[in-house]
Symmetry: C2
Subunit: 113 residues, 2 copies
Amino acid sequence: MREKTLEEYLGCPFHLAMNTLEGKWKFAILYVLLDKGTLRFKDLERAIPDISTRMLVKELKHLEEKKVIVRKAYAEVPPRVEYSLSEIGKSLSPVIDSISDWGKSYANSLSEK
Amino acid sequence: MREKTLEEYLGCPFHLAMNTLEGKWKFAILYVLLDKGTLRFKDLERAIPDISTRMLVKELKHLEEKKVIVRKAYAEVPPRVEYSLSEIGKSLSPVIDSISDWGKSYANSLSEK
DNA sequence: AGAAATACTCACATAATTGTTATTACTTCA
DNA sequence: TGAAGTAATAACAATTATGTGAGTATTTCT
């Protein structure tokens, strides 16, 4: 499938958003960054135990390129790299919250009946 | 990766929600169903032009099993099958809306600077 | 008679994701 | 002295996820 141009996405903000956030782990990363603020690489791995190192690297790189998160590296040993949300990234909190809220309702609706 | 039990998901509504909604096409399907109400299979294909028949079948089946959408088949020729959101499915509208809203902000933040 | 319409299903092919193990370089702690 | 800690990167195999192209059955329309 051909990658769409920005112009095409601009016509559909929902499409643009999903293109930026799609993938198995993006929402999970955003969830923990919103919750914890700033995290080092290793902390992210611990916060999302099921993700592989490779995938975490990939997803972080993607989100950084898309300007959703910010990477800050310190010249220390052992190395220290901190990840946090950009301003536009922080504005994802209503998205994450609404998903979390829906999850609660959904859990209730499943345990009823 | 081992599939988690419902009990494990219940501890984290966000996790439960994402497990239900993950995959490349779920949000797109929910988006059009929220917008259009009820759609036949072929209408869904037309509304989401990039999806393959196979994936649409799979995702619809998954969402039906998870009680998020409802499938209604009529004994006609040519066949008619209508898909719509369940009650809990309809309650996803804040999720879809917040994603759409974020997409707008994001598009603005990209065209600035 | 033949084409069009629908809601799939099937077999096969490619792409995405994961698991595993190893490596780097330097400092702190035991 | 030697292990632990960090943030990756790399190579390989294995497993999932997704895509492609074709086909089915039956009625209506041309």
